[in-house]
Amino acid sequence: MSFEVMMRQLSGGMFTTIQIFVLTLLFSLPLGLLIAFGRMSKHAMLRGAAKIYISIMRGTPLMLQLLVVYFGPYYIFGIGITSSYRAYAVIIAFAVNYAAYFAEIYRGGIESMPAGQYEAAKVLGYTKVQTFFRIIFPQVIKRILPSVTNEVITLVKDTSLAFSIAYVEMFTTAKAIAASQKSMVPLMAAGIFYYVFNFVVAALMEVWEKKLSYYR
């Protein structure tokens, strides 16, 4: 196999990895906020449910969660698994798992906001929704950005766990080529890819943090 063919195959996996990454963030960031609201709710039931959810998602391996989401429909409900479900299973498992981590990050950020901000907004007549989205949330984003960066970098590397249900992303591709060609090159190429990917992600997050440093 020529180097060129190898790279072409790897770039297919690369695309899939980036896809998992983007879709996971797209779903887990809003879902995490909803769970954070549940976790901070006045209703004990909702609060308890969110707490248990977060505890399970953080307390069990992501790989296990992937297997449950992928095989669960068949083992539990006897629903046949189509091959196209594999992609959905990956995104669902990653999104619900990361949402739990993001929920706790949001909660920490929201709870760290001084009561005075809510009070100033209330006296000025802002509704609860306006208060949250105009006053509180923008400041929460600034506060949580460093923790979010950590999670996002972990996510880049975690995408490789999709191999556990044989979803062909970067890592799976590299491993297969390495085995068939008896070569280290694809694995090294994969390593470089993850490194560069993370480097870019970290740099972008740093730019964002800088952009928000105009206030304290």
Partner: protein, 254 residues
């Protein structure tokens, strides 16, 4: 007509009675100062008046309209539509400003008039610039709160409150978080507002200022109003508790 009326307000925190049957009314154009030792319930009274705290019992009226009425020993609040209307009548200036740090000075002032009152942008901007000019901050419109001194931040927060065109403005120790050399600028702003007949209720530890600016002064202690009279009469008071308190400020009657 009375702008603000509070009758028999009671408030406890965990069984600890902080306000015991307090009544307070304020006429249009009046300036009322509230003084008293730490923990006497001054902030709690303002917070009840501005609906940041719910009263256990008592009546609260703005311009004759009830925000809450005492019924069978409990304060019953009006439905939220009435409350929304009543909330437009007052503004509150906090001790520690509570500006929105992520907004520029101008946006701090304009945001609520635009998004809460849904007023016209050009009109709001003009009003905001006029207020900034009045506060001597015309050149800081695009600064962020963290770039301002405490005194400047407090002036912005007063402008922010005034931009909502409240009928009455409450101040809770507006100079307590400031260095002594910065309190003067805030006291001057409030004095100017008093000259324009702005209705104000001011909690303060600045006795000379309170004496100068107020039409009426209230001395609170341990959740009750001990005395309520003109500044001159208060400073000449024979009441033991009043004298003891004012004595600490070296302003006693003798």
């Amino acid at each position: 007509m009375k702008l603000l009326e509070m009758h028999h307000v009671k408030k406890s925190f965990d069984g600890n009675a902080v306000l015991k049957q307090i009544s307070l009314s304020v006429e249009e154009g009046e300036v009322v100062s509230i003084i008293g030792p730490s923990g006497s319930g001054k902030s709690t009274l303002l917070r009840c008046a501005t609906l940041l705290e719910t009263m256990d019992d008592g009546d609260l009226y703005y311009l004759g309209e009830a925000a809450a009425k005492s019924e069978a020993g409990r304060a019953v609040y009006a439905p939220s539509e009435s409350i929304k209307k009543i909330e437009r009548q007052f503004g509150l200036v906090f001790q520690n400003f509570n500006l929105f740090p992520h907004y520029s000075v101008l946006k701090n002032i304009m945001d609520a008039p635009l998004h809460v009152q849904k007023r016209d942008k050009a009109e709001v901007k003009e009003e905001a610039m006029r207020l900034l000019h009045k506060m001597g901050l015309s050149d800081r419109a695009n600064a962020y709160p963290c770039q301002l001194s405490g005194g400047q931040q407090q002036r912005v927060s007063i402008a922010r409150a005034l931009a909502m065109k409240p009928k009455i403005l409450f101040f809770d120790e507006p100079t307590s978080a400031l260095d002594p050399e910065l309190t003067g600028e805030i006291l001057k702003v409030i004095t100017d507002l008093a000259k324009e007949n702005m209705t104000m209720v001011i909690v303060t530890h600045e006795m000379y200022f309170a004496k100068d600016v107020s039409d009426r002064m209230i001395f609170m202690d341990q959740g009750v109003i001990v005395e309520e009279t003109t500044p001159d009469a208060l400073f000449a008071s024979e009441n033991e508790r009043t004298r003891a308190f004012l004595g600490k400020y070296h302003l006693g009657g003798d």
